[in-house]
Symmetry: C2
């Protein structure tokens, strides 16, 4: 703890500084915040937090992707959220139960910043800027999680995949190509699908002009995807 961001490379530092937690911090608050932070590197498949474990920290992803999920008694798992670089997770524990309500697992090698919950909570009492950062982050997460519920309940697999593609496409209506930033199995979990269902959804989108080769997705007509 307390080793600050000294070891961060430029890219990681830039990601961290763009988060609301670090963005507009004044001198003294910044110093204190740095003392509440430490940097961690975890390997693919490592567990970062366990459901039911007492919560003492929340995390910011600098590099890689983290899978938040829950298990059923018979061992099946369901993803709740995928945290990308710049995202935090576990910040909902600042003002709630003491136990994590999910597992967090590194989907690949990840660089994380760990924030001590109690310290940040204390800081938030003094610095409205930090409170604001917490509220902003919580609000966004709440809204995106509500989106997730609505998507699951309203849309079929091909529609959810189309929505995902659209969310990563430039806004114009013409052709586009995107590169998935992670494995398809992770995308499947993110959309609440089995990998096989994701694969079938992609092939059902071929007739709408979607071509998939490895992680590259090409779209003939972005506008047409919207009509699905």
């Amino acid at each position: 703890m307390g080793n600050g961001d000294i070891k961060l490379n430029n890219r990681d530092r830039a990601v961290l500084m763009k988060t609301p937690f670090m963005h507009g911090l004044t001198g003294n608050s910044l110093v204190k915040m740095l003392s509440a932070m430490s940097v961690e590197t975890v390997s693919a498949r490592d567990l970062i937090v366990r459901e039911g474990q007492r919560a003492e920290a929340f995390y910011c992803v600098l590099n890689g992707y983290v899978r938040l999920y829950r298990l059923s008694r018979d061992g099946r798992d369901a993803d709740i959220r995928i945290s990308a670089p710049g995202d935090t997770f576990g910040e909902c524990m600042l003002y709630a139960d003491r136990k994590y309500p999910f597992f967090a697992q590194a989907a690949e090698t990840c660089t994380l910043v760990r924030f001590d919950l109690q310290t940040v909570k204390d800081l938030a009492e003094e610095d409205p800027g930090i409170s604001r950062a917490v509220m902003t982050t919580l609000s966004r997460h709440l809204i995106s999680t509500m989106d997730c519920v609505a998507n699951d309940r309203l849309f079929t697999a091909p529609q959810r995949v189309a929505n995902y593609i659209l969310s990563r496409c430039p806004v114009d209506g013409g052709p586009a190509a995107i590169r998935l930033p992670f494995q398809k199995s992770l995308l499947a979990g993110m959309l609440g699908l089995a990998p096989e269902a994701l694969s079938r959804a992609f092939s059902s989108l071929r007739k709408t002009g979607v071509t998939v080769r490895g992680r590259i997705i090409q779209v003939v007509d972005v506008q047409a995807l919207r009509e699905i």
Copy 2:
């Protein structure tokens, strides 16, 4: 606006005062908060907010139930959350987009308190107690919405119904009876089911000792429900 809580009956006032927004407020903040509030009564099926509408307020339910939902292009709707007495909704707009991401509809006649977003936002800057209330509420909503995603993805209809019953049963393991506080169709939407599916889930629970008559649900053995 600004008519305060003068018109509230005792029950409604008690509900309001138990919310984190009003609970520990000091004199001056309390006065200001009161000036940001107004009381509204809405009839069954009235829309309280519309998706896409510019957000200028959030709400606290004092009486009745409010359905937050989204529509698909072809007119189907999906519930995202049911707000019960004591719950707030729309508070995620304090630090996020300006447009509501859902519709809110009174499921029955409701009494609500309307909070002006900008005023509360300004108040939160000065009063850490208010910030704390916002963060507490957002955290709880985020966690319960994550629970919702996990439930949808992990459990079948009968399991979700069993979970709901258990969440409203006294903790001990023996027999119990509960009364649904709303129509079954609302419960169905809450659990992400069609009303017919809820009905079938109830009847599939008969073999586990669950009896339903109108809004009364009787459970022979609470412990047995947990094993489903």
